[in-house]
């Protein structure tokens, strides 16, 4: 039989070569070098902008090229950029307290970034992380301050509030997920719209039904001690809380889910090539809803962590207040 020639016996050497990852550090290099280059480029562009603002330019073009003028302008640029970047460094890494604050600021960004990344893996552009974060914050705050739960021990109360917030985020993201699966409504549009709904709904809630009657500014009552996500250090100047470890843990869990389970395999396949996914018997709609909800779950967790670990009360626009007044 001529067909027998096609059946090659697996040889040990060939097996070893074929099962060796081609370049195991490829992903690592991409994932580390590219962000670092991006930061470097941002610093360079920032330096140019600072120089433009700081340098006193001569009145006439002829003066521009005089040696003493050039030297002065160079000096001004160097001082300006140096002052700015030293301030940036001091404020973020200069003291132990500022490192703590940097990490505090990173916690919701890690969780929110993870939410967006999970959406991307499933082929979804979840712009609605912000809205889902607010949904999570509202529910976590309510579970935190409500007298119904204030008697609970911390071991029950805190997980309940975290879980409630996460599920609220998931529910908020479930809506655009379902709309996409059922009607094809694009998630970029629907999630952006739901962002406004969530932010303004939060404004309404903290101004009226959830408002602390004794407070001068609109906010909810403070959460009970049992629901507080503890700080990592007892020293009051360090606000760093357990949310950081929660965020790292969430990252590991999501990696495991995406790459070690059949659910993750389906989500990634649908994200990478929906036509092939359908051919292989996977449901595009179902996986879109799942990926969207999981993404919202992480965003909701970010909101809950922010309230329970840092804010202890919910205010309108609490997550935007540094940028938008």
């Amino acid at each position: 039989m001529s067909g027998k020639a096609t059946e090659t016996k697996p040889t040990p050497t060939a097996s070893r070569v074929l099962s060796t990852p081609i370049f195991p550090w490829a992903g690592f290099v991409d994932n580390l070098v590219i962000p670092l280059l991006a930061v470097l480029l941002a610093l360079i562009i920032g330096a140019l902008v600072i120089s433009l603002a700081k340098v006193q330019f001569p009145a006439t073009a002829a003066d521009f090229f005089k040696a003493d003028q050039l030297g002065r302008m160079w000096q001004e640029a160097i001082t300006g950029v140096g002052t700015a970047y030293r301030g940036l460094w001091d404020g973020s890494f200069g003291r132990s307290g500022s490192i703590s604050e940097t990490l505090v600021a990173a916690i919701p960004l890690i969780l929110g970034g993870l939410a967006v990344a999970l959406g991307f893996k499933g082929g979804l552009f979840n712009i609605g992380v912000e809205g889902q974060l607010y949904a999570g914050a509202v529910v976590a705050a309510w579970l935190g301050y409500n007298a119904l739960f204030s008697g609970l021990p911390g071991l029950v109360h805190l997980p309940l509030a975290l879980l409630g917030g996460a599920l609220a985020g998931a529910a908020w993201a479930f809506i655009p997920g379902l709309l996409k699966a059922r009607t094809g409504a694009h998630e970029v549009i629907t999630t952006i719209m739901l962002n406004y709904v969530a932010v303004f709904l939060t404004d309404y809630l903290v101004n009226f039904p959830m408002r602390d009657a004794g407070a001068s500014s609109p906010r909810t009552p403070f959460i009970s001690p049992g629901a507080i996500l503890p700080r990592l250090f007892s020293d009051a100047q360090f606000r760093l809380h357990w949310g950081l470890l929660l965020a790292v843990l969430a990252t590991v869990v999501i990696y495991w889910l995406l790459f070690k389970t059949t659910w993750g395999f389906e989500i990634r396949t649908v994200g990478a090539n929906p036509f092939t996914a359908r051919y292989a018997g996977m449901s595009i709609g179902r996986n879109s809803v799942i990926a969207m909800s999981l993404s919202g779950l992480l965003a909701g967790l970010a909101g809950a962590v922010q309230i329970l670990g840092l804010e202890y009360t919910l205010k309108g626009r609490f997550f935007l207040r540094h940028w938008i007044r």
Binding site: P10, L18, T261, T262, F265, A272, N273, F275, M282
Partner: protein, 233 residues
């Protein structure tokens, strides 16, 4: 294959004892599980996830079944062992089973699809343009695989094959019976022995020539005044 919702008619897979054979409204997964394999027309669009490693592409429709998964947990080691075996058995030329499928040549991509579809127990193979755009070596390899599958080689059950192709040489050399379609309808079903390229070509153009045996005076296959006009547009 369940990829399009039928508007009318019914589809049956017969000859599988003990299981319901109507597949009209089944999902792609249900049809796959009945033992139907599908080589899709466009391997990059539908057959492979080009950004996934070859190994993952080889278990694209069996990843959720043992031994590749236990419950929801994927057994990567089993998948890699299986992929290693298939890559060698089907002569997929790849630097590694971790190479992205999109990095392979067209022939090796198609061999990956064929390896995946042929290496599970199947009763029916639907092959759409299985050798389109491939090199001669890969074409020959895939043709041999298809014929072996039909004959039940090297072991196991024989498999029914529905070959969909626009390549006349491929059709004539592989098929036992040939159905020619024009505008969504089967014009004629011919036996491979009586099929000529000319006759197939006319049928493909929507012209039904008189039977080759009859009308000795006229050249078979050429359109004449006496041709039935019902399929002409």
């Amino acid at each position: 294959m369940g990829l399009r919702k039928p508007l009318a008619g019914r589809i049956w897979i017969t000859g599988i004892p003990g299981i319901p054979c109507e597949t009209t409204h089944l999902s792609p997964r249900q049809i796959t599980e009945l033992g139907v394999a599908h080589i899709p027309e466009d391997r990059q669009r539908e057959g492979l996830v080009t950004s996934f490693p070859v190994a993952d592409n080889l278990v694209l429709n069996t990843y959720y079944q043992p031994p590749f998964a236990h419950g929801p947990f994927i057994d990567e080691e089993m998948i890699q062992k299986y992929a290693l075996k298939l890559v060698q058995e089907f002569d997929v030329r790849t630097p590694s089973i971790f190479t992205q499928a999109g990095m392979l040549s067209g022939g090796n991509q198609q061999k990956t699809v064929v390896a995946r579809e042929f290496s599970r127990p199947i009763k029916l193979l639907v092959a759409a343009q299985p050798t389109r755009g491939l090199d001669v070596g890969s074409i020959e390899f895939i043709h041999r695989q298809i014929v072996q599958k039909r004959d039940g080689f090297p072991a196991g059950e024989k498999c029914a094959i529905l070959l969909v192709s626009a390549d006349l040489d491929e059709i004539i050399s592989l098929s036992d019976r040939i159905a020619v379609m024009y505008r969504g309808r089967i014009l004629e079903v011919l036996d491979q022995k009586t099929a000529t390229r000319e006759r197939l070509g006319l049928l493909m153009a929507g012209i039904t020539p008189p039977p080759a045996s009859g009308a000795p005076g006229t050249q078979p296959g050429l359109p004449g005044p006496g041709l039935p006009g019902k399929h002409r547009f």
